[in-house]
């Protein structure tokens, strides 16, 4: 495999992990936080108990674990690929989150919102057509 093709394959695999860990992490957080009660006050005396309640939720911890895995994959891919390539390419996750929110959490997603997600993915596709690295290696 040519080095350039190898770089693209390696980047694609890591970005797949970034998308799946990120989306499932956010879904878990959302499911967990819906049982914690609404965040309603900015006073430090209220913020800390709110965070403490959040950290008692198993779903929130599962979300945190998944987002740590997301962060590891994201950080690794950023060691060679441009940030302005990786960030848009991983945004397919926005579509994945909407689909998972609809099916797993029963959220109502309007048609305008689906179109919005599709337009986001189209933007992502355009960005992913550009080369992953434009700067010289340090």
């Amino acid at each position: 495999m040519k080095p350039e093709a190898r770089l693209h394959l390696k980047t694609s695999i890591l970005i797949f992990f970034v998308i799946m860990f990120g989306s499932l992490g956010n879904i878990s957080l959302s499911k967990g936080m819906k049982h914690v009660g609404t965040f309603s006050s900015w006073r430090p005396g209220d913020v800390m108990p709110f965070l403490a309640r959040a950290l008692e939720s198993g779903m929130v911890w599962l979300g945190i674990l998944l987002l740590i895995l997301f962060f590891v994959a994201y950080t690794l891919v950023l060691s060679w690929a441009d940030y302005s390539f990786v960030q848009p390419a991983s945004s397919i996750g926005y579509g994945v989150v909407a689909v998972l929110g609809y099916f797993l959490l029963g959220e109502a997603v309007t048609s305008t919102r689906w179109i919005g997600v599709a337009v986001i993915c189209l933007g992502v596709f355009l960005v992913s057509q550009t080369p992953p690295r434009t700067t010289e290696q340090a």
Binding site: S79, Y83, S84, Q87, V97, A98, V109, I115, G116, V117
Partner: protein, 122 residues
């Protein structure tokens, strides 16, 4: 209003944090070896970079804001709206990291912003 403030913290903290992390990782160089031992070694080198800590603090702020807003908003609304960080990200990548953002990339980023607007209206 409460939504707007929290979304602002999520977008700016998240983007600023990622740019700081990207800067730290570029100082370390491309990762070729994905064995757990080497990944651990890379992580140890990463946490010695001040930019990495700057990024971690900003991302932690963004994370707590995300937890707060998810306590009442749909995840299928919140997560797509955080795509607003694309404009900030391409701009930051260009200005702070010296990445060359082509016209096609800008067009893609513009479409992402239009998509976010539709999600907000929906």
């Amino acid at each position: 209003m409460r939504d707007a403030i929290l979304l602002f913290v999520i977008v700016c903290g998240g983007t600023g944090g990622e740019i700081a992390v990207a800067r730290a990782m570029k100082q370390i160089g491309e990762v070729h070896d994905f064995s757990p031992r080497n990944i651990f070694r890379v992580a140890m080198r990463a946490v010695q970079r001040p930019w990495m800590w700057c990024g971690i603090v900003l991302m932690a702020l963004a994370f707590f804001a995300l937890l707060a807003i998810l306590s009442w908003e749909n995840v299928s609304f919140v997560v797509p709206v955080t795509a607003l960080s694309y404009a900030a990200g391409a701009l930051g990548g260009k200005v702070l990291l010296g990445e060359r953002v082509s016209a096609v990339r800008w067009l893609g980023v513009g479409l992402v912003c239009v998509g976010v607007m539709l999600v907000c209206l929906g």
